[in-house]
Symmetry: C2
Subunit: 256 residues, 2 copies
């Protein structure tokens, strides 16, 4: 079998330790092309660059003949540019991450990592976003290597369900403590925001967004439950946002 | 009954004609507070500002005592700041728009207008995004006034289905030609990207993202069908992205 062609991207920027680890793992599986943002893009959501230009430089390291591109855009821009302009053919898989920090539960909505995976999904490419629950630059990614490889090989072998991408989160615990992999639903959790109000040297007010993550979802089938209990969580994520269950109710509203 | 408190925001910026029209309509219905970006944010998706500061100025016009705030952040930032810092109480409704340009089908994913509505939904506030299929600054919003009022009054009177916000798109035709309002699902359409490659004055390459919208969805229950046939479309949108139908399939993957 021909080696699969794998697009690797992320939202922490092309030099983040997380993507370097993911590139290593993917290089054991297939032919890798990297197209990633030139700077950190956390919290960028599914932003795309439509009112400005995109710059892109080949940055292949001297020690390798792997193609790597550093791009001025968002993670979703990187995928669009990779698939439509930079890659010799449509990739067999797109992986994004490993994100420094959780993208479980409602965080999927704000996640640049997942927006890259979702963008690939929209373009019909099987896609997975990987995140580890450790925000630090020097997070330990080694605990997750064998699990990431296993999930990726499964995604290549089995057919990805149609209209679905995978959101994988990994607890920041020792490899020997990881109990396994669980397929989950997104926990119904949310952020309670607090704004830290300050004054700049000119006396003008400004804010820093901070917040507290609140999970009141009691289900044992959620990603939060899995992660809190030593499992790696996989949530199948869809990009058809239609709330089909609500259509009947809305048809009873009075628009006369 | 006390007048409902309505938060108005958008992604085209606080001075866009679309939001000025929406403010007018909402002022006939309730007490309005405006918190909107200080500059255009189209295509910003669900970005939030986590690595930078937010600035916010009171810009209430001299001719009115309505509270208006211009904010340096994204549409989602505006909603977070409004609800947690600027408003006297949790609003009864959040409306976003009227967007200059369509947010139907897959465009909901890239839409700053809809990300504001979704952010409000996450915070438990009934929310609606309004968009008109005309990208021009001087788009004619008058055709949609009575429909927007009707939809808003329904959303205040009926209970919004739980975990759902509304994505309303309005065709750019005369009011007399609008056939009515249809509850729809998101059409399975997508963009085929093309990158316009150019050279800057220093000889370095850069790109402009362009693309063609492709709708191969034959359903007559989609937003695209409704809009192409003279109807206003309402898609109920959910922010639990779990693809519940895929969980069974994924449980058959081999993670041993």
């Amino acid at each position: 079998m021909e080696k699969p062609l794998i697009l690797v991207t992320n939202d922490d920027g092309i030099n983040a330790p997380g993507i370097r680890c993911l590139i290593d793992i993917m290089s054991e599986i297939g032919e890798v092309i990297v197209v990633a943002p030139d700077s950190p893009q956390s919290g960028t959501g599914h932003a795309i660059t439509i009112n400005s230009t995109l710059h892109c430089s080949k940055v292949t390291p001297k020690t390798s003949d792997r193609l790597e591109y550093s791009c001025s855009g968002t993670p979703a821009d990187c995928v669009k540019l990779a698939v439509n302009e930079l890659m010799p053919r449509k990739p067999d898989l797109c992986v994004s991450g490993i994100n420094h920090g959780s993208n479980s539960s409602i965080n999927v909505i704000y996640s640049g990592t997942m927006s890259a995976a979702i963008e690939a999904g929209i373009e019909g490419i099987p896609a997975i976003g990987f995140s580890i629950l450790d925000y630090r630059w020097n997070a330990n990614f080694l605990n997750s290597r064998k699990f990431i490889k296993k999930i990726t090989l499964n995604a290549l072998k089995n057919k990805m369900p149609k209209g679905v991408v995978l959101n994988v989160n990994i607890p920041a615990i020792k490899e020997s403590e990881i109990k396994g992999i669980k397929i989950c639903r997104q926990a119904k959790a949310y952020w309670v925001e607090e704004f830290d109000k300050r004054k700049n040297p000119l006396g003008q007010e400004y804010y820093w967004l901070t917040g507290k993550f609140v999970d009141k979802d009691k289900g044992e089938d959620t990603d939060e439950w899995a992660l809190n209990n030593g499992f790696i969580s996989i949530v199948p994520v869809e990009f058809d946002l239609t709330a089909h269950f609500a259509i009947k109710d809305l048809n009873e509203w009075d628009f006369k």
